[in-house]
Amino acid sequence: MDEKLASAQAAWESNLQNKVLKRFPERREKFDTESGVEVGRLYSSADLPDFSYEENLGFPGEYPFTRGVQPTMYRGRFWTMRQYAGYADAAETNARFRYLLEQGQTGLSVAFDLPTQIGLDSDHQLARGEVGRVGVAIDSLADMELLFKEIPLDKVSTSMTINAPAAVLLAMYIAVAEKQGADTKKLAGTIQNDILKEYVARGTYIFPPEPSMRLITDTFAYCAENLPEWNPISISGYHIREAGSTAVQEMAFTLADGIAYVQAAIDKGLDVDKFAPRLSFFFNAHKNFFEEIAKYRAVRRMWAKIMRARFGAKNPKSWMLRFHTQTGGSTLTAQQPDVNVVRVAFQALSAVLGGTQSLHTNSKDEALALPTEDSARLALRTQQVIAYETGVADTIDPLAGSYLVEKLTDELEAAAWEYISKIDEMGGAVRAVEAGYMQREIQDSAFRYQQEIENETRIVVGVNKFQMAEEHHEGLLRVDPNIAEKQVARLQRVRATRDNKAVNGALVKLRSEALNGSNVVPCILDAVRAYATLGEICGVLRDVYGEYKPTSTL
């Protein structure tokens, strides 16, 4: 360490304390990030006494991947521009998909409605008011065929935000590809399939943890064997952050969940290097610009260490944390919604500077409703500007070596390790979820965040400062209120025209396979091909597995 520099810096600081600050006080006594990491006045190499380029950073595409997972990063190819979309029925969503692809989007991302995410058919009593609202309603293979009509599944990659019934929707996707005559070995995409964060933060669980973990490892095994290009899981911090966590909690809880999935698969007898290369992640791009960049870099380095040291993975691909990013939905404001375009641009920039593999940019109207076609296009254009106009993608990991960014990367990593050891001590992520530990930690952070807004220590432009009288916001997307009726009619047609004997046979087989604990994915695929509905398939699994009862944490 450069002692001369350290003492010069100390002298500069004391001069500041004694002379300057008395006359020109700073805006705040203490500055910190969203995770409460204190941000200093100035950083220099004196703040990184133990910094080693080789150990801390390495080279892109090499352990510990701090600088990125690909050797050329965006010089080879930009990140995948993947806008999450879906509403109403399969036909309407298919039209939005084709529009987005025409506009230069490079991957699909399917939003399903809540009944679909919870494994209920559209005519279920609990589906009242929810059909086609937050995503597209899918009841059977017939809907899935419509959803991907004229979109060749061997040419596009598709991400599906589906968790508890992920195996069923994956089976439907495979069945559509078969009908299109596509080579299923070439199917590329992701199912979210991350149940632990559903218990913690997102709420679309069905089954209890134990059988849910089994379903997930079943999909790992099935994909490793049959869909080599498919990511069978997207381990998600996004929703943990949306539920109110800090950046450090987002990192730590996501990695703890990842550890639990890897351990479960290993315990089931899978070879880590067979499935780990296809694990993928999903993070939030939130407000504190440098903290977010440091977060992506730190989390990449941590996963590499976890996979190599903890799980003994040998394949470098198993060490790589590849991730999708979405800008922070909860940072959008209903007040002065045009300002959201600016927020989204900064957040997206942080994800790119942090080395994301794919990106969704939120639309400005999402605090009020689902995005219109116009606002979804503007959101896509925002990332196209970052890619094609700013030049930030022309060199790899451009902020490496910034004293601040490297220091923050180290500090976030250290804070996240602390949480991970705490969770390890509790017996791992599943136990921590069951005890409500992560839920409570997130809840506390969310409450603190809201208090900071209300006591104005945290400023949100247009909400607690720079407010103005506003006209009503016009032109929001409205989902056709008759969509539920239409969807139920189609569902009934499917039930009336399919071979019900084949359906029953497939469901009986599924029940017995679920009971005896063998891999259920092949039977689910058979049931799907026979046009068994999502609700019927999940109904059988509900019978066998039971349903999750949440821990109350309030």
């Binding site: 809540l114 009944p115 995410q117 919870i118 209920l120 009593q125 609990l126 589906a127 009242r128 008011g129 929810e130 609202r133 937050v134 559903e198 997102r202 709420g203 679309t204 949306e242 539920a243 109110g244 909860s330 959008l332 404001t333 209903a334 007040q335 605090a367 009020l368 409703a369 689902l370 809840q443 969310a446 409450f447 809201q450 807004i453 209300e454 949100v460 909400v463 607690n464 009503h472 916001h473 929001l476 989902v479 209120p481 949440p550 109350s552 309030l554």
Partner: protein, 269 residues
């Protein structure tokens, strides 16, 4: 102190986003209310059942999934069917402004959109139950204790130019009252008719001067119950007939900073 307000925070439908619901629940709790949170995936029937079982005065509904147009009114309707329409129902979440008029007409008292402060929500609930105080429509009259109406009228009529519209004896108060209207209020001159009249006692201890201020209320019964609910000390627990046929009641001067305060309701209103 009255009992804390009891609130049920509920998540109708399938939406799993409960950050807002939990933050609001915690904030209302910190504001001194008793809060019960239902957890996720509640049908309107389950929510009303929980509300009745927990005997809450308020239900706070949260939905971010767009199902509010169906689920929020359903809760209000079931409450009505169960004879519990006095439960205050408020909502929040991702609700477009154009949906709000319909929701309000369906009986949801208020919708709190994104960016609402938890304090605004707590204040709204508190004001609903504690009110903004009484509804006063005007100063009805100012009562002035005098030894002799006849002698005093010299000043009020001849000097100030007020016109005496009549004199009346109120036997149960042992007082004679002269009315001098001015604008929408009046001055009342009070002369005791017996030595044990309250006004006589006032004159003995303080001499001539302002005796009380009377405010007009549209509904004296409900004003009295509101005052009782808030624990305000009263001289009259029930309304009685005062001068000019008005229904009147006095607050205890200790409750009103030493100024004897009357509320009154007149049938003309």
């Amino acid at each position: 102190m009255s009992n804390p307000i009891r609130v049920l925070v509920a998540k109708p439908g399938l939406d799993g986003h409960d950050r807002g619901a939990k933050v609001v629940a915690q904030a209302l709790r910190n504001a001194g209310m008793e809060v019960i949170y239902t957890g996720l995936r509640q049908t309107p029937e389950q929510i009303v059942e929980a509300a009745l079982q927990e005997d809450v005065q308020v239900i706070g509904l949260s939905s971010l999934s767009g199902a509010h147009m169906q689920l929020f009114p359903a809760v209000v309707n079931i409450l009505r069917q169960q004879g519990a329409s006095d439960v205050l129902v408020v909502g929040g979440g991702v609700v477009p402004e154009e949906d709000i008029p319909y929701l309000k007409s369906a009986g949801i008292a208020e919708i709190f959109g994104p960016g609402t402060s938890t304090k605004a929500i707590a204040d709204f609930i508190r004001q609903h139950f504690e009110g903004d105080g009484l509804t006063l429509t005007r100063v009805d009259h100012i009562g002035i204790a005098v030894n002799s109406i006849e002698a005093s009228l010299d000043f009020y009529s001849s000097t100030l130019g007020l016109h005496c519209s009549g004199v009346e004896e109120v036997t149960d108060q042992k007082v004679k009252v002269a009315f001098l209207p001015l604008g929408e209020s009046e001055i009342e001159l009070l002369e005791p008719t017996t030595p044990d009249s309250p006004v006589a006692k006032f004159l003995q201890s303080r001499g001539e001067g302002i005796h009380h201020i009377a405010y007009r209320v549209p509904d004296i019964q409900s004003a009295l119950s509101q005052l009782k609910a808030e624990g305000v000390r009263l001289l009259d627990q029930e309304p009685r007939t005062g001068a000019g046929g008005a229904m009147i009641a006095f607050l205890h001067p200790k409750a009103s900073g030493g100024v004897l305060t009357e509320i009154c309701q007149r049938d003309s209103e």
